[in-house]
Symmetry: C2
Subunit: 494 residues, 2 copies
C-alpha cells in the first residue's frame, strides 16, 4: 500500500471515532439523564485520548513525509494530504500533559462560570479563567511555532484554517466604520414605521415542532437522514446521513424558535451536501466555521427573514396556530423578523448590530492573548467597548463579559467566524441571485431548489478542497469582502 | 506502575470504549434515522477494531504474565486479573481476519433472515446460515483450544463464563423429565377455572408509559440514572448511571408491554447495583447472561406475576386507564398473567412451557456445532423436537426454526442462559423469602426495599468476583439447582 493510501486508512478510522464523539455529545445534550455525566466523561476521554494517540503515532510522521515527497496527481488527494498535515500539526504541537491540563481547566472553569453568570460574579470565576487563559496562551505559543503564524492565528486556525488577522482587521475596520451611523439610520427608519407586534399565543410546542419540520422539509432537509430534537442550547450535530439539529421552544413566542430551526437547517444542508466520495477523509469535511456560519446565516438571514420568504411562510404559520388578523400578515411578520435593537446580549442581536458584538470580542481576545489587557480589567474594557461600538453600557457583567460560554470553555479565536460568516452569506447569496435571477421569486413560492443547487455545486460539494478565500473566489470571483454585506443591510434596513 | 495497575488503566480504556459502543447501539435501535446506517457501521467498526487491537496488543500478554506471576493479595484484584485473562483469551484466540469474516457473515445472514422469515423460506437463508455456522465452528475450535473446554462450551463461555454442558445436561434432563406431565396438570387446573379476559382498550401509549414509569420507580429504578424509550425489540442497554431500557406498545393490550418493562427493569436493577469501586474493570461487570436473566425473571416472573404484586398494582392499572369491573380485579389479572399455553413462539411462552423451547434449541445447536446434524435437516429436527417436548408441531418454519434471530446473527451458545436464569431466579427468590419472610406481604404493599436490598448485597454488589455457581452458593448455599424452580411452578400452577 502506498503511504498516501495508508494515511487514508488511518484518517478514516480517526474520523469514524471522531463521529462517535459527536453522537455521544448529541446524546449528552439532548437526552442523557444526569447520572450519566461521569460515564460519558470517561467514554469521551477514552475516545479523545485514543484518537490523539493515533494522530501522534510515530509512524504517522513518516507516512506524511513520504506521501508529501511524491505528491498525488489528483488535486483532491493533494488537498487531502494538506488537511492531514494540518491535523497532524495541531495534534503533535501539544504534549499530552498540556492537552489534559487544558481539558481539565476548561471543565472546571465552565462549571464555575455557570454559577458565576447567574450570580453576576466575575471575580469568582476570574482565577479559573486565568488558568484557562494561561494554558490557552501556552497552546497558542506551541502551535504558532508549528504553524508559522501569530499566536492568535494559531488559535483561530483551530476553527478557521489559515485565517489571518491582517485580513480580519481590514474587514472589521471597514464594518466598524460603517455600522454605527448605519445603525442610527436603520433605527430612525424603523421608528417611522408601525411597530412590529408579536402574535398572541400560546403556541403549543407540538405545533411549533410540526411547523418547523415542515419548513425544514421545504428547504431540503431529508428526515430519512436527520432529526429535529430539543436541547437547552440549539446546535447542529450528527454526521452526513444522520444530521441532528436541535432547538428550544417558548410557549409564548414561536418566532425565535422557528428562526433558530431554520438557522440550524442551514448548517445541516451544508453537511448534507458534502461529497460522498470523500466521507471520513479530512478533505471531505466542511471548510471551517466561517463558511459553516455562512450557510446557517444564508438560510436564516438572507432567505428566511426576507419578505419573499415570509410571503411563502406566513400562511403556513397561520395554519399551524390558527392565527388570523393583522399580526399574522406578511408586513407585520417582516417587521418582527427584521427589527433592529441595540441589545446587551449577542445571541439576541439582529444582523445590523451583531458585528459590533463580534468586533468587541475579537479585539478583547486578541488583547488578552497578546498580554495587552489584564484579565482583571476585562469587565471595564468590555463595557467601554460596548459604549464605543454600540453606544450602550451594560449595567452588570451578566449582561457584559459573563454572557458567552466561549472563553470560559477554552474557545479562543472563535468569535470572528460569526461575522466572517455573515459577510460570506451576503456575498454568496448576491452571486447566486446574479447568476439565477429567479431565486427571490422562487423563494416566495417556497421553491429553494435553484438556490440550494447552486450552493451544493459551488460550495458544499467542494468541502475542504481549497481555503476559505479560494472557495469564495471560485464561487463569487472575489475573496471575502464587505461590499455585499453592506449592500444587503442597505437594501433591507437603509 | 505495577503490571497490575497498568492493566487496570488499559482495561478501563477498553471498557469506556465498549460503553461508547453500547450507547451507539442504543441510539441505533431507538432513534437513528435510516440514513445513519452506513456511518454507524463505520463508527462501530472503528471502535471494535480499536478495542480488538488494544486487547491483542503484544505488551498486554507480558503484563498479564507478570501480574499473574505475583498475584495481588486483594481477592477482588485477583478476580479482576482472572477476568482480564478471560477477555484476553477470547480476543487473542481469533485472527483479525476471522473476526472480520464472522462480522460480515452475520450481518449478511441477519439481513436475509429478516426477509426469509417473512416469506417463510428457510432454503433462501440456508447458504448464509451455513456460512455463519461454518465460521462459528472455526471460532469454537480456536477458542476451545485456548479455554481448554469443548467447542460448544467455548461458545457458551462468551455469554456464560465457565458454563459446562455436563451441568446443563443434568439440569435440563431433570426439567425435561418433569415438565411434560406438569404442563398437563397446569393446563387441566387452568381449564377448571374461569377464563382470563383481557380488559377492553384502547390503552393510549402515553398512559401506558406513565404507568410503566410509575411501576419502574416503585421497584427502585432511578430516573436520574436511566430512561425508558421505545424500540422494535425491547432491551436493556446503557451503563450504570445511565441505564436505557426500551419497550414497544400495543394500543389494544397494555399487559404485555407492561410486563416487558418490568422484565427490563430487573436487568436494569442489576446494572444499577454493580459496585461503583470496580466500574470500568472486568470484575465490576455483571457475571454473565444466566444471572442477568435471573434478575429480569426475578422481577417479572417471581415478583410481578405474583398475586401479591397484582394486589398492589391492580389499582394503579385501573387508575391509569380509568378501568373498572371484574376484568380489572386481581383474580382476573392474575389469571391473565399466569396463563399457560402451548405456543410455537418462544418469546410469547409462559414460564411453564418456556424451558421446552430452550431445551429444544440447546439440543439442536449442540448437534449442529458438533456436526451431528446437517443444517438442511434443521426444519424437520426442529418440528420433531417441538412435538416431542411440547406435543405440538409447527405448521411452517416461520413458527419453527426461523423465529429467533440468535443463530442467524451468530449468537450460538446463548439459549441455555434463559432457562438457567429462570432456575436461578426461583432459587434466589426462595432464599430471600426464607431469610426475610415479610417479602411477600411487603410486595403486596408495593414495598420492594427488602427484596432489592437482599439482591444488591448478595448478588449485584458481587459483580464478577466469583463464578456463577460460586455466587449462587454464596447467596443460597447451593449451586444452581432445579428444585426451587419446580417448587415455584408447583406452587403457582400445580
Amino acid at each position: 500500500m502506498s503511504a498516501y493510501k495508508e494515511l487514508e486508512t488511518r484518517f478514516k478510522r480517526i474520523a469514524a471515532l471522531g463521529e462517535a464523539v459527536g453522537m455521544l455529545h448529541w446524546d449528552m445534550s439532548v437526552l442523557m439523564p444526569p447520572g450519566g455525566a461521569d460515564s460519558r466523561t470517561e467514554q469521551l476521554t477514552a475516545l479523545k485520548l485514543t484518537t490523539h494517540e493515533m494522530k501522534t503515532d510515530s509512524a504517522l510522521a513518516g507516512l506524511l513525509d513520504e506521501a508529501e515527497s511524491a505528491l498525488p496527481d489528483d488535486p483532491w488527494q493533494s488537498a487531502n494530504l494538506r488537511e492531514m498535515r494540518r491535523i497532524w500539526i495541531h495534534a503533535n504541537a501539544m504534549e499530552a500533559s498540556l492537552v489534559e491540563a487544558m481539558s481539565r481547566a476548561c471543565s472546571a472553569c465552565e462549571l464555575i462560570w455557570r454559577e458565576a453568570r447567574l450570580e453576576n460574579d466575575f471575580v469568582r470565576v476570574l482565577p479559573y479563567l486565568e488558568e484557562v487563559l494561561n494554558l490557552t496562551r501556552q497552546v497558542a505559543a506551541v502551535k504558532s511555532d508549528a504553524l508559522i503564524c501569530s499566536e492568535y492565528e494559531a488559535l483561530l486556525d483551530q476553527y478557521e484554517p489559515a485565517g489571518r488577522t491582517a485580513r480580519i482587521d481590514e474587514l472589521f475596520a471597514d464594518l466598524a466604520g460603517f455600522l454605527p451611523e448605519f445603525t442610527e439610520t436603520a433605527l430612525s427608519r424603523q421608528a417611522e414605521r408601525a411597530d412590529a407586534v408579536l402574535p398572541d399565543g400560546p403556541f403549543p410546542t407540538e405545533r411549533q415542532r410540526i411547523l418547523g419540520e415542515k419548513l425544514m422539509g421545504t428547504l431540503g432537509f431529508d428526515f430519512d437522514a436527520g432529526r429535529l430534537d430539543v436541547s437547552l442550547h440549539p446546535f447542529c450535530g450528527g454526521v452526513p446521513g444522520d444530521i441532528r439539529i436541535t432547538t428550544r421552544y417558548a410557549d409564548n413566542d414561536f418566532t425565535q424558535s422557528l428562526m433558530g430551526v431554520l438557522h440550524e437547517t442551514g448548517h445541516a444542508l451544508y453537511e448534507m451536501g458534502l461529497p460522498d466520495d470523500w466521507r471520513y477523509q479530512p478533505v471531505g469535511s466542511a471548510r471551517g466555521m466561517a463558511l459553516h456560519e455562512s450557510q446557517s446565516l444564508l438560510i436564516e438571514m438572507q432567505v428566511c427573514r426576507s419578505r419573499e420568504y415570509l410571503e411563502f411562510a406566513a400562511p403556513l404559520m397561520r395554519d399551524a396556530f390558527g392565527g388570523s388578523g393583522s399580526k399574522w400578515e406578511v408586513d407585520n411578520l417582516y417587521r418582527l423578523y427584521t427589527r433592529v435593537d441595540r441589545n446587551f446580549i449577542r445571541v439576541d442581536a439582529d444582523e445590523v448590530t451583531y458585528p459590533a458584538h463580534v468586533i468587541l470580542r475579537y479585539r478583547l481576545e486578541r488583547a488578552l492573548i497578546d498580554d495587552e489587557l489584564a484579565l482583571a480589567d476585562l469587565p471595564g474594557a468590555w463595557n467601554d467597548g460596548m459604549e464605543d461600538l454600540l453606544g450602550i453600557r451594560p449595567p452588570d457583567d451578566r449582561l457584559g463579559c459573563l454572557q458567552d460560554i466561549h472563553w470560559y470553555d477554552g474557545a479562543w479565536g472563535y468569535f470572528p467566524t460569526y461575522t466572517m460568516g455573515a459577510m460570506a452569506a451576503a456575498q454568496l447569496f448576491a452571486t447566486a441571485k446574479r447568476e439565477l435571477p429567479d431565486i427571490p421569486e422562487a423563494i416566495s413560492r417556497g421553491d429553494f431548489s435553484h438556490l440550494i443547487g447552486w450552493m451544493r455545486k459551488n460550495l458544499h460539494a467542494k468541502a475542504s478542497s481549497a481555503s476559505t478565500d479560494e472557495l469564495m473566489i471560485q464561487a463569487t470571483g472575489e475573496p471575502l469582502e464587505t461590499v455585499s454585506f453592506k449592500a444587503h443591510l442597505q437594501a433591507r434596513y437603509g
